[in-house]
Amino acid sequence: MTITNPAVTPATVTQPATTGRKRPNPIKRFWPQYVSIAPFYVLFLVFGLFPLVFSIWLSFNDWDGMGSMNFVGLAQYRFLITDPRFWNAVGNTFIIWFISTIPMLFLALVIAFLLHQNIRFKGFYRVAFFLPNVTSMVAMAIVFGSVFSDSFGVINSALQALGAAQIPWLSSPWGIKVTIACMVIWRWTGYNSIIYLAGLQAISTELYESARVDGANGWNIFSRITVPMLRPVILFTVITSTIGGLSLFTEPQVLLGDSGGPGEAGMTIVLYQYNQAFTQFDFGYGSAIAWALFIIAVIFAIINWRLVSEREVGGQKVFKVRRQRKEVAE
């Protein structure tokens, strides 16, 4: 198609209107391409789009998953707004997200910075730090359950040996949250540091070299060059951690079970949704919780977008100025 016969070209150029009208139906013309992408769309339609749309419908119904559906209008949402357990779950999710994400990203950055140096066994450390991310969560929950165990755990034994008071990690509201945050940190720090490492490798070594020549020490280089240059990568990890934090489910579920432990202190939004849909068989309410989470996620997306676009406004100004100059020059 790209090879055009020079002898024919003038003819097509002279009759652009007729060729346009005679163009066959794009579906007929490109059917092999459509067929090649069909498997994904068919599967997405069945397992992605349909459940998505159906859950909107479900959230306006009362349904136990078997019997007849009962249309209840906005009753599920009205209940949700006044449901203290839901708001407890929202609060828990944010607290755990906050106390896990900040130390995690900081630690990841430090680890990435250290891994970027000329140290021995670099490859080994990189694999070692990524390993928690691919470890089975159930095995992890058993290990964490033993380490943080109230009266038999390693941590409490250590605290006792140091003469400090034991902390009921798995039965007090803050203990539970800190334990879950530790699981999140343990699992995702390596993953984030690998992303940072990739970002670090994109920073030109000339910057570091000239900084050294100017007499900067390690901390200066880290805070004045590495962090500012990594800003887009850091923003990316903040966004992915927000998504991960809002949809936190596996860690509390394997550690504490379907009801989030004593006082529901480890109940997150998604765990509450699962609890309502699959242990209470209240699919209508489960769907309503899912859509409430969607709204919360949208709010966060808007905040993120505002943060990013404010910087872009600055960038656009520069762009606009340049274009104006161009116009002036013309």
Partner: protein
Amino acid sequence: MAFPRRSFLAGAAGLGALAAAGGLSACGSQVSISNDPKELVLWYWDRSADPKLLAQAAKEIPGTNGYRLRADVIGGTFDTKLRTSLAGNAFIPDLTFINSNVSLYFPNQDLFHDLNSLGAEKYRQLYFDWKWQLGVTPTNRFCFFPLDTGPTGFYYRKDVFDKAKLPSDPDSVGEAIKTWDGYIELGQKLKKNVGSFMEITAGQIFGQYINASAERYFDKAGRPLYMNPTSTIRDAWDVAVKAVKAGVTGNQQNGTDQNAAWTTGKTAGHIEAVWWAQILADTAPDTKGKWRLASQPVRAGNSGGSFVCIPHTSKNPEAAFAFITWLNNPQNQAQAFNNMQLFPSAKDSFTSGTMKSNTGFFGDQDPLQFFLKAAEQVPTSFISTYETQAQYFGTEITNVESGGKDPERAWDDAVNQTNRTLRKRGIDV
């Protein structure tokens, strides 16, 4: 360019068609799992049936003129899978086991055969009446046939009781804890003398008190009973709160803690069903010979134990029912106990003389005789489908124990939460 474009396209088209066909075939569904008219499909979960009996039925179900059983093990989230197939009216087993939560299926009971219409009544006298009654729906349809049972008792560490200089033989322990006051009193002595607890959590006491009572959360008409000041639930709550205040429960809310507590003797007791013996022997093998069984306060209860039923789409309900009665005849239940520790619901299993008691773990005590005696005491009760919505009582008693919440406030919160949830599901309270 060396890539054969045509064959690639053909392959892609094939894949697309396959996906489309897969999607469509699910719509033009098939109600039964097996196309073979002589094959009945049973859904069960691991360790809920004796594989030897299932293998025998796979050749031919006795007395059915050539019907064969295909038993499929369903792993994990059993209820979700069963409910999904029933809701979709597709790929429904011809017979299925359901765990002790049969009341979950009461609102959809018309999806199961009333076994009385298949002649279940004449088998009734073979089984413990309280177990039989648990399979009867609020509208008096008998849909769920008894499999195994879970009579309960007080498991305790004899060595720890000895160390605490307390009576330690089963009879005198049973005598000392005849009432809940006696239980708490003994627990206080145990705590004072050796620092051990009687029970892992207050929630366990609360739950087992209810499991040993004739009255539970709701009556058959679905009316809540817990708001009545003299209700069982309120009594169970008060006993659990009293146990917390007396310091006889260990506040061990997590499985790792609980196992460590029983192994070390930090917690020297537990009220649980017969099936817990196997779990205990697996988790704490070193404590073999140190445990004994005593009668729990007031009377024994039932915790767990499953049922079998026939979905309305079953290929041949008569043949399915023949399998049920054969699988659960006293001899076969005795065999299932010997092979899988499934405690019989058929009374004659115990007199058949073939049941082997697994002694040793309880020293010279015979657990079989103990639990048979317990099974005979279990009161007849009604488990309502709304008990799923009444889980807040358990949550709140845990708050009292581990969070130090004021018991009266916790009780009010539990009642309000339960009522709110029930109203949302369209139940008048």
